[in-house]
Symmetry: C2
Subunit: 763 residues, 2 copies
């Protein structure tokens, strides 16, 4: 696996630009690194836990999480929380509804000697280091273990989830005897003693082990999913593996006699399949077949396929920064997780809020996907962007059920979407009132079409989303006595005001959504009569509906116009209470929300996150610089950034307003959200929306790209931070690829040679 | 037990005015009658279940109730839910917080013959009738059972919870053999297989039975309470009782050989004590002692003591209506429950929302106590009223903790109070925002003082409540830029608008509360210097606080003034959406809330209950008739009365406005709330606040009594419903008792002879 260093383009001297390092072990940071070092390939994801686990951190602790964890639940901070996630494998939590299942742990590889187990907290360890290589997603761990029997063992652990062969997890441990002699036992496991948010979601876990060298674990979830894990072991020395299954764990143990200078390598190759896999064939035998094929390809071959796949991804997605090595590494860490979390081959799933790197937010889909993540995929991997929109198309029936549950026609997308599109949010103030998600999806639909030129998508899929959501909006508005319609009882992006009147962001997005529905209907009617007729029949569009959509769009009230000085967040924003931030928020290193009761927060002018500024980011052409500046000057001081979606937006706006100091500060804060060890930001998973926000801050902010929503061609207005000598990235744009290179005083847009990509191809 | 008919004043020919009857058995109504026929004496309460239980209605079903039962919980409608409640015995529900424990069932008396058990659904039954005699709270059941062996047995069950000897439950079954012969077995039980809202709250249940004739069950709750139940059996025929304990049930079985014409009587006398009882001595032996003493007194003696106690209660509380027998009976049913639910001897408990007649609302204390219940007790049993206020004084520390939890100084009473005063409401919109409860308690405090003249209560207890709640209000208000202070983010009495601005009811009540605090401080300072100094020290009152209270009271905004045409419910009320009631509420026999999502409801002008009208009821002198009429005309049509607190208020206002038809209609609706078999109103317990509301509708509405809050003497403005020829009741007023007699065209206030009562006596 050391071979990667020789692969073209992966240079030894670039390690500091590509490798996330943990130089010393600290138990209190382990959970953070478990999240940050999550590996995956879209199909499956595994948190960066130690192969041997941790002492005092049982993974099968059962407890009940409550919907409102702030007031009711005692927070749990175990030293370690392992995580194995396959998007699409979910179960029902009795209180929290649908959640992604934390699957059996497949990485188990324990070292034993003289009755003692290698354990980072209990063993005598020196020379520890660990690093995730972002180039190929390999996780490396190196340490020297002084065994209870006095041997000095240098241990190197390596592992990756193959990006080329999506069902494979490949691991290796190399042991070199620096001093002493004795016996070393290696125990390989597949462990079913795993709980998700305290719940056991497994109906049965059946371990088996062949005395030869293979292990398997067959799991049946309570939701009826089957998960098959098969592992094959290989050792550089002859060994007899002994079966040691216990309860829900499959285990094999092998013993080696070692003396100084010996080197031992043990490899573990695991294939994972489920009943949801789209490939043909029985799932159990399919895992065995994957394993057998992998062994035919061999370890080197597997790695070559894997690294070639990663290289191709980086080629399109990398952002190269000259003059700021730390930013370079941090930006790549974000892109790594964006590349890993995406599953472009399967439009039955999208990208969950924690990037499949933890149990928080239950593996559900939020507006983050459309507003924070989509731009990255639009301009690096349009096929992946298309897939995210297809997920929303595929869950339109769930959205219809949501609308019906609330008493409306049409379709209402869920604030927290299940696999089938149905609302899962257990707290009513978000589920019921944060309705902008339904318009956000239409915005994203148009963003996709305009960035890729894939007009056909509208005709085949988009029109259903447009018409059904337009019907919902026509039911959701209230008509006032002035003949305007309004959206009452709304939580905007700012989640610290739950029930406002005519939220500027929401109303503008809804107006856009309704307008585009009318435009799309008109356009189909005039130029694609067949498609139009089919849509009319399929969606049962009544003749008067177009006019209803148009009229509702026209009369929908906006709480501002072009002359408004400070665009109000909502019609009633002025009536909320001013906040004495200095008196309340006495420690700015912790969220504002920790210093104020929800009751008080909900009546105060303290924003959780960008709201009007988010509106201005999405409709930049509608707000002159003076309005943008007035909004930034007013809202920024009263915005707490308690949401991770906030800081990147502020960074972009600060950049647009030529406030380099503020912009640089926001850039640092964006990068710190997952990476800061002080805040242990990644402990519960990756803030994947913020990863997308960082990409947007660089591309829309620093490079100053005009959004494809509002510009038909690539236009830039760069403002590089101090010290950055060059910023360079590829950009997919309307079916072609370009390389953008920005210098402090000039920029170039270079159209790339060779075949472009074709958006809209089906798999 | 038939002896009561001979007691003076309890006439045979008055049965239709005193007995609630169930003429035929209907399984679907059994749960309703279990609630309606609840018996009790303040100390303990037992629902009106059958002695032998019901087939297909296990009492130990375990399930998880969710805080939001509308959307998450599947409603449960078992045929029967038994209930045994002792105010003060509570436990923690994992999701719903503190709840009163449904205790072991003490009424078990089963009849068996030829292997078959008497069961209302499975046996051959004829001649069934059941009635609760409101005069003495005795429940009677009569039926003829054709046993599997062909005997015809006339069975009469009778039982009561002694009003005189609070720990005693007294039961009897009489069996007369109409035809046939054979063996009859009687099985007496104390059963611990009881769950509260699906939860097992018992750590241990230890049954025992002596082969003689006594049973016992010792229960330890998970909260550490001990409950002792001891039963003694007595039969009119010689019998050997056989022990048949099973698991958590104590049981004795006796067998009798019967032939036609035989009469058998079996009596069961049960004593219940707990570790919370205030009497001295070990609780287990205390129950035995109670039992022993009871047996010494004898069955007749016990009944005489009991019925004398009831008679004395009725003497002060009865309302006599001539000309409307149905209203007469229904009003007495309400008064019965008000008399039963009250525990004037113990100021550590108050009266819970379901009157200790069901598990709903978890045995907690709401504003109902102060606003809906208190007037009845003020004017029939001032000592009981005093006790309710002492409960709030005793829980002031809990209220202080509530304030602290929200980040305020002072004391904030809980929307749903635990025994210790701490907030138990699991839904944040009520817990956080329905803050008027804290002012309602101060209003009640003054209502007590003014109705009884017990000024000393203010000085000894009230001042602490006043100062601490005033401190809370000073923290809870926000000051606007016009120099007014406001109450934002408020749910008023109308629970269909959760977050409003300056709710008229709330702000007026808070202004009153702050004003009275200042007045009370001033009055103490000038006339009771010692008390004042003690309060200053005890409450650490700073010199500037009085002025802060005064200034806040003065500047607290009211969203109306004397010139306002329609007093708005809140400053933002006009901004909510109009409701198409005809289109939405298609079946008026069901609550409006069943036809609209909470989301839509929360942005609509649809009131759950009286809000502005409640304000006008509490401050009648401040609103001229035109304002009252404008409010009634505007709000009544948009009020859904989905809360049982609403209808009585509307009835009073309709009466005041001389709208006899509307008033009569509201009177019918008030009486139907618990009594209607169509709605099964009492299934989950008694709407005890509505019972208080009915009393207010008669006394404040029909008799037109001016509230003691605003009138120093008894003033009446009667408006009797059509057909009522006389309305008569006693009234306690400022230390004296009066008899009020109202005729259609005249009324009399007659001061009663003899010793008045003295409020403020301590127990």
């Amino acid at each position: 696996m050391e071979r990667y260093r020789r692969i073209e383009g992966l240079q030894m001297n670039e390690e500091h630009l590509w490798c996330l390092k943990e130089s010393g072990y600290e138990a209190g940071l382990h959970k953070h690194y478990e999240g940050l070092f999550t590996q995956g390939n879209g199909y499956m994801h595994v948190r960066g836990s130690f192969e041997e686990g941790c002492s005092d951190a049982p993974q099968d602790e059962e407890y009940l999480r409550f919907p409102d964890n702030v007031t009711l639940e005692k927070p749990r901070h175990p030293k370690s929380k392992q995580g194995t996630f396959i998007p699409g494998i979910v179960a029902q939590h009795p209180l929290l509804k649908e959640e992604i299942v934390n699957l059996p742990y497949m990485l188990g590889l324990e070292l034993w000697s003289a009755g003692g187990r290698l354990d980072m907290d209990l063993s005598r360890i020196s020379g520890y280091s660990r690093w995730l290589d972002l180039r190929d997603g390999c996780l490396h761990r190196s340490l020297i273990w002084e065994t209870p029997g006095g041997m000095l063992l240098k241990c190197n652990f390596e592992r990756y989830i193959s990006m080329a062969d999506k069902h494979l997890c490949i691991q290796r441990v190399q042991v070199e005897v620096l001093a002493g002699e004795g016996r070393l036992e290696v125990r390989a496991t597949l462990r079913g003693d795993v709980r998700t948010n305290g719940m056991n979601h497994f109906d049965s876990v059946v371990p088996s082990a062949e005395v030869g060298c293979s292990l398997s674990l067959e799991t049946l979830t309570e939701g009826g999913n089957q998960i098959f894990m098969h592992s094959a072991l290989e050792a550089s020395e002859a060994v007899i593996w002994h079966e040691e299954n216990t309860g829900v764990t499959a285990a094999l143990r092998g013993e080696f006699a070692l003396q100084a200078g010996d080197r031992l390598t043990v490899s573990k190759l695991t294939a994972v399949t489920t009943d949801r896999d789209m490939e043909q064939g029985g799932t159990g035998s399919r895992a065995l077949a994957q394993l057998s094929r992998a062994r035919d390809i061999g370890w080197d071959g597997l790695y070559e396929r894997h690294t070639a796949s990663w290289k191709s991804k980086w080629q399109h997605a990398d952002i190269i920064i000259q003059g700021d090595d730390l930013a370079q590494l941090n930006v790549r860490a974000s892109i790594y997780h964006l590349l890993r979390a995406n599953r472009e081959e399967d439009d039955r799933v999208a990208i969950c809020a924690k990037g499949y790197a933890g149990e928080a937010y239950f593996g559900r889909y939020f507006w983050d996907t459309e507003i924070n993540l989509l731009p990255f995929y639009l301009h690096t991997n349009p096929q992946a962007a298309r897939n995210l929109l297809l997920f929303r198309y595929n869950t339109l029936d769930g959205a219809r059920r949501n609308a019906q549950n609330y008493g409306y026609r049409g379709a209402r997308y869920a604030w927290e979407s299940s696999l089938s599109g149905e609302e899962q949010c257990a707290n009513w103030q978000y589920a019921d009132h944060e309705i902008h998600i339904t318009a956000d999806i239409v915005y994203a639909l148009y963003h996709y079409v305009r960035a890729t030129g894939d007009e056909e998508f509208l005709e085949r899929y988009g029109i259903d989303i447009l018409v059904e959501t337009a019907r919902y909006w026509c039911g959701r508005v209230d008509w006032n006595r002035e003949g305007e319609c309004e959206l009452l009882g709304v939580m905007g992006p700012d989640e610290y005001l739950p029930l406002t009147r005519n939220n500027a962001f929401t109303n503008r997005m809804v107006k856009f959504s309704l307008e585009q529905t009318v435009t799309c209907l008109d356009s189909l009617m005039s130029s694609k009569q067949d498609s139009y007729a089919a849509a009319v029949e399929r969606l049962n569009i009544r003749p008067e509906e177009r006019e209803l959509f148009r009229h509702t769009a026209e009369k929908l009230r906006l709480p501002y116009d072009s002359g408004t000085d400070v665009v109000p967040q909502s019609d009633d924003f002025a009536s909320y209470a001013d906040v004495d931030f200095a008196g309340i928020w006495t420690d700015r290193s912790r969220p504002f929300g920790h210093f104020i009761s929800q009751e008080r927060n909900y009546r105060s002018k303290a924003l959780k996150q960008a709201d009007v500024l988010e509106l201005m980011l999405l409709f930049p052409q509608e707000f002159p610089r003076e309005q943008l500046k007035a909004a930034y000057d007013y809202y920024e001081p009263i915005t707490t950034h308690d949401s991770s979606l906030s800081v990147a937006v502020h960074g972009i706006v600060a950049t647009w307003l030529n406030q380099p100091e503020a912009a640089a500060n926001f850039l640092q804060r964006v990068m710190a959200i997952d990476l800061s060890t002080e805040k242990k930001g990644a402990a519960e998973g990756i803030h994947i929306a913020n990863c997308g926000g960082l990409w947007q801050l660089i591309v829309y902010g620093l490079a100053g790209l005009k959004s494809a929503m509002w510009s038909g061609s690539i236009e830039l207005e760069p403002r590089l931070p101090e010290g950055w000598t060059e910023l360079s990235f590829q950009l997919a744009w309307q079916g072609e690829r370009y390389r953008i290179t920005v210098h402090p005083d000039a920029y170039e847009v270079h159209k790339l040679e060779g075949r472009g990509y074709v958006a809209g191809t089906t798999l």
